[in-house]
């Protein structure tokens, strides 16, 4: 009986063991199946994500090429909105302010002085296309439009073709950076509208040779800023004017001092392109104020020679002292295609002018500036010998203060006191100093 019971138990134990083994095998099989399923799912998920990533990559590549193209375009610009007050009186007290078309006289006004957007496109290294329109209330004019080719081998030369600033310090110093509301009377008269059309070759020896010398040579139409806008689209007299400028920089880092100095010349001509039907409009004055009537095709000198210096000194923050001196012979006509409104006569004149400006940064956000500039449009005549206001010498004092909210926004307060040479024969307003001061409060925003 015991044997039967033992055999039975042994059988039962074997049976249980066999069942367990069968169960284990089944579990193992089911785990394997689960693992396989999970792996399949994981594989599918990875494949799915890989496809999604490939899709994103494809879209990203397409976007990248668009972004790369867009990154070649740089857009910058600025707006100068201002409030002006004019202290301008006629000698008899009958008029106060400056004449405004369509109304009497205006002694204060809001004025959108400049609204410019500059587009620079750099398709490849060494090539720049620049386009800068200026938006005015009644028109859009083109300020800069040129192609700039930089030499990629020596990193020294660049060729500019189109319309660009004439190469002098005051002209090339941007209006958005300038410490005073306007450029000096000398620069505004001798280089009207600042720009001209032509070609310019620049050599900057600092990058490649570490020599702080910059040379500029330009060939220009010579009539930009003169006459009606439509006449400035092309040259009016065939003759090309030439400009050249050289600047050298000295640095004394241990003293916090830097001095840039240089010289420039303008060699050009004013050509008589037509005579007026009214003979009185064809009479010219030479440098000695003698009258003469030229013939069509006659050419008069427009030759200027200038020197410049800018000194920067790190004294309790930044300080700069800037100066330019220009003298030479200048000529102009009142022909509608050629007239320079600030020179404004049929004449040849020996001219001379200079300015001295002092700029001091105060703390991080304030800047105070003082400028004294002189322009004599006729060095051979003075005092009562001057018979027209356009020949009077001016001494101008300009005081300015700038506050920088940040790099993009600044406020400027600027006061200009023009002091004219007195003459009993140049009009009643100029027997004493004419009241013609201007106060400007300007807000500038740039991006």
């Amino acid at each position: 009986m015991k044997k039967i019971l033992f055999t039975g138990m042994l059988f039962a134990a074997c049976l249980v063991n066999a069942q367990e083994k069968a169960n284990d095998t089944a579990i193992s099989k089911s785990v394997d199946t689960l693992k396989t399923n999970e792996l399949t799912k994981l594989k599918e998920s990875v494949e799915d994500h890989s496809m999604k990533l490939a899709g994103y990559e494809e879209r990203f590549s397409a976007l990248e090429s668009v972004v790369n193209e867009l990154s070649k375009i740089k857009v910058s610009g600025y707006i100068q909105a201002q409030y002006e007050m004019y202290d301008s009186w006629a000698s008899d007290g009958s008029q106060h302010g400056i004449p405004v078309t369509g109304s009497a006289y205006e002694d204060n006004s809001f004025y959108l002085r400049r609204a410019r957007v500059k587009f620079t496109y750099k398709p490849v290294d060494g090539v720049n296309f620049v386009l800068q329109p200026n938006f005015e209330i009644h028109q859009v004019t083109l300020k800069d439009a040129y192609v700039q080719l930089n030499d990629r081998w020596l990193n020294t030369f660049s060729l500019w073709v189109g319309q660009f600033s004439r190469p002098t310090y005051e002209i090339e110093y941007s209006s958005s950076s300038r410490e005073f509301a306007e450029r000096t009377l000398m620069t505004r008269t001798l280089y009207p509208s600042e720009r001209d059309q032509g070609a310019k070759l620049e050599a900057d020896f600092v990058t490649k040779y570490n020599v702080p010398l910059k040379l500029q040579f330009a060939v220009l139409n010579g009539n930009f800023g003169e006459g009606a806008l439509a006449n400035q689209a092309k040259d009016v007299d065939n003759g090309k004017d030439v400009m050249a400028r050289g600047v050298y920089s000295l640095k004394f880092p241990s003293k916090g001092l830097g001095i840039d100095f240089g010289a420039h010349t303008y060699l050009g001509k004013t050509t008589v392109i037509a005579l007026d039907s009214n003979p009185a409009n064809n009479i010219f004055k030479d440098v000695n104020n003698n009258l003469f009537t030229p013939a069509v095709g006659d050419q008069f000198k427009k030759e200027l020679f200038g020197a410049e210096m800018q000194l920067y000194y790190d004294f309790l923050g930044g300080l700069s002292l800037k100066s330019e001196y220009i003298r030479g012979t200048y000529s102009g006509t009142i022909h509608t295609a050629q007239v320079n409104t600030l020179f404004n006569a049929n004449k040849i004149r020996n001219v001379e002018g200079y300015y001295l400006s002092l700029v001091k940064n105060v703390g991080k956000v304030n800047e105070v500036s003082l400028r004294y500039d002189v322009f004599d449009p006729n060095t051979k005549l003075s005092g009562n010998n001057v018979t027209t206001k356009d020949d009077l010498r001016y001494h101008n004092w300009t005081f300015a203060w700038q506050y920088y909210f940040n790099d993009y926004i600044k406020v400027m307060a600027c006061y200009v006191l023009p002091l004219n040479e007195k003459s009993l024969n140049a009009g009643a307003d100029y027997k004493k100093d004419k009241h013609d001061n201007i106060f400007t409060l300007r807000l500038q925003a740039r991006f």
């Binding site: 990629r152 950076s177 920067y312 790190d314 309790l316 001091k360 105060v362 703390g363 105070v368 790099d407």
Partner: protein, 277 residues
């Protein structure tokens, strides 16, 4: 009476100007070169511990970004791994009427990273220039196996990019050169890609090998080591700079003086760069 008033007003204005000019900064911001971020953060950390009243904030972004921030007034110190450009000085002149102040604060060598499995281990400056400008595209042209060269570099805002371009490539980088955001990313990429090449600070070369560089065909190949960078025999060495708008005063002067002291320069060595003194 009027003259007296004008004189008083002028005197007050001068006093105000001088007073404002001496205004010192309580918080110093430092921005620029990614190469210098770790070093600069260490300087700031240790200095602030020693001077609990001081507050120094350090961020990267690249040398160009730092110098742009200095010009637009959003940072007090610009870290740069390349010298300031003439155009940037012109902007400082226009805005602040100064030429800026340049302070060399450390020396660095630019390593050329190669994958450890790459049999090429020596290149001349000319060959490197040709490789990164895309004129040489296969390792066989420089004594290696017949395999295309994969290029890794930095973004154009980086001073390392500028220095390598000006001193080695001397023209445009090849369009196939992949820009990565930081030297560590370049090291990682080269580590994974047998036939790749990249460049960056000598302190970052972990898991890759440094390429020995020859000044020209006749010069010996030199590896970027402490000794060769310090004595300038390694051809791609540079200074690391701090730029300021004008002469430092107050807390900023104290911070810069400390950086140039033996204590500050000790941190330069600890970070993997080389002291200026």
């Amino acid at each position: 009476m009027i003259t007296k008033k004008i004189k008083t007003a002028a005197l007050l204005m001068v006093l105000l100007m001088v007073g404002l000019s001496f205004t010192t900064l309580s918080k110093i911001t430092v921005k620029g070169s990614d190469t210098m971020v770790i070093l600069s953060q260490k300087w700031a950390e240790v200095y602030m511990k020693k001077n609990p009243g001081a507050s120094i904030q350090v961020t990267g972004g690249g040398s160009g970004v730092g110098l742009a921030a200095l010009i637009n007034g959003s940072t007090d110190i610009a870290n740069s791994s390349r010298p300031i450009k003439a155009a940037e000085i012109e902007k400082l002149k226009a805005r602040y009427n100064t030429l800026g102040v340049e302070i060399p604060c450390a020396k660095d060598g630019l390593s050329v990273y190669l994958n450890k499995a790459n049999p090429v281990s020596t290149l001349t400056i000319k060959q490197l220039g040709q490789i990164f400008s895309g004129k040489i595209t296969n390792w066989s042209a420089v004594g290696g196996p017949d395999a295309p060269i994969k290029l890794y570099g930095r973004e154009s805002s980086s001073g390392t990019f500028g220095f390598f371009k000006d001193n080695v490539v001397k023209t445009d980088f090849a369009s196939s050169c992949q820009s990565l955001p930081g030297t560590a990313a370049i090291v990682n990429a080269v580590k994974k890609d047998k036939y790749s090449i990249g460049y960056g600070g000598a302190a970052y070369a972990e898991g890759v090998k440094d390429c020995a560089v020859k000044k020209d065909d006749k010069s010996p190949a030199v590896l970027p080591t402490a000794a060769t960078i310090k004595n300038h025999t390694y051809p791609i060495t540079r200074y690391l700079y701090m730029y300021l708008k004008s002469k430092p005063t107050g807390e900023m002067k104290a911070f810069i003086d400390w950086i140039l002291s033996s204590e500050g320069q000790k941190l330069v060595v600890e970070t993997g760069y080389f002291p200026v003194r």
